[in-house]
């Protein structure tokens, strides 16, 4: 991902490069090119971040394919630059992780206060975690409906362009 680009409205966009892997009518399916958030390093083989790691990277990337409206007549194999609002990542992380966690901690605190028993607190926390995950699902659906998490087509990628500024492919 490249640094955020300020738009005319003052909001910022996080850019990333994706490759078109399938076209179905007016919808193009894209696969993100960025394989790891850390860019992967020399020890990538040991931590599972590299292509020679635990062998799950390809399936993870395939699972991250996403649809995009195809107004520009994109074809399979083309590389494009897509962008999401920079607040989308934080909203998504808060919805997916913070909500269930706070629900679990609140349930555990209440159970400990009421019964003072470790096993019951454990059960209450698991219940809170489950409730929080259900709430997260509802929150994610709302964000989806508002289109907050949807990536937008920005432009076709230049030949050799990468998601790391100043590091063009050779």
């Amino acid at each position: 991902m490249t640094p955020p680009i300020a738009s005319a409205t003052g909001s910022h966009t996080i850019e990333g490069i994706a490759r078109v892997v399938r076209v179905e009518g007016l919808v193009a399916w894209l696969e993100p090119e960025q394989t790891t958030s850390c860019g992967s390093c020399a020890s990538a083989g040991a931590c599972g971040a590299g292509a020679t790691g635990l062998g799950t990277v390809a399936s993870r990337i395939a699972a991250r394919r996403f649809p995009l409206d195809n107004p520009g007549g994109l074809t399979v194999g083309e590389r494009v630059v897509v962008g999401v609002d920079d607040r989308a990542l934080i909203k998504a992380a808060l919805t997916a992780y913070a909500l269930p966690l706070f629900a679990a901690l609140a349930a555990g605190g209440l159970a400990q206060g009421a019964y003072g028993s470790d096993p019951l607190t454990l059960v209450a926390m698991l219940g809170g975690l489950g409730s929080g995950l259900l709430a997260a699902r509802a929150g994610a659906r709302r964000l989806d409906r508002r289109g907050d998490l949807a990536p937008r087509f920005l432009r076709r990628a230049r030949p050799g362009e990468t998601c790391h500024p100043g590091q063009e492919e050779t």
């Binding site: 996080i14 790691g53 990542l89």
Partner: protein
Amino acid sequence: MKEFVLMLIGAALVNNVILARFLGLCSFMGVTTRIDTAAGMGLATTFVITVSSMADWAVQRYLLDAYGLGFLRTVTFILVIASAVQFTEMTIRKVSPTLFQMLGIYLPLITTNCAVLGVALLLVEGHMGFLAATLFAFASSLGYSLVMVIFAGLRERLVLAQVPRLFAGPPIAFIVASLLAMAFMGFSGISTS
């Protein structure tokens, strides 16, 4: 109550996972080039540390202690952490495929984050009750996230700063990290009276 608050402050700031215990340094240097990625990674790690610590506490109490299998602690905890990461990944994918597309990239990195195992071992050595152990893990991971976001903010500014060519890139980042660690040492002087 006061003990809980002191434990939370101690775990998050005084004995910070990254700057005082030097755990999780790989992600600290690798994922802090942008604030939003650092925050995403921090929240994902917070979730995994807290959930895996809950499981680790239960495994330690009802399996390892009960059957005298304490020598298997490290191996068992690694298995529990890997399972917790897998559980998180499957759950996020099921809860919202869109969220998984945005956040799933962080999860494989957490499996090998030594901060997760370090916190689990620390809470077992502390012989805490379940709620105290979970809050300790939560506070430790909040401290981790805080430092990740602060350091990412500093690195975003460093990109715009004029740095001597010899120090550009990782060298100046390491110097800033050391200054940040020294700043956090100030928390050890907090008076509890």
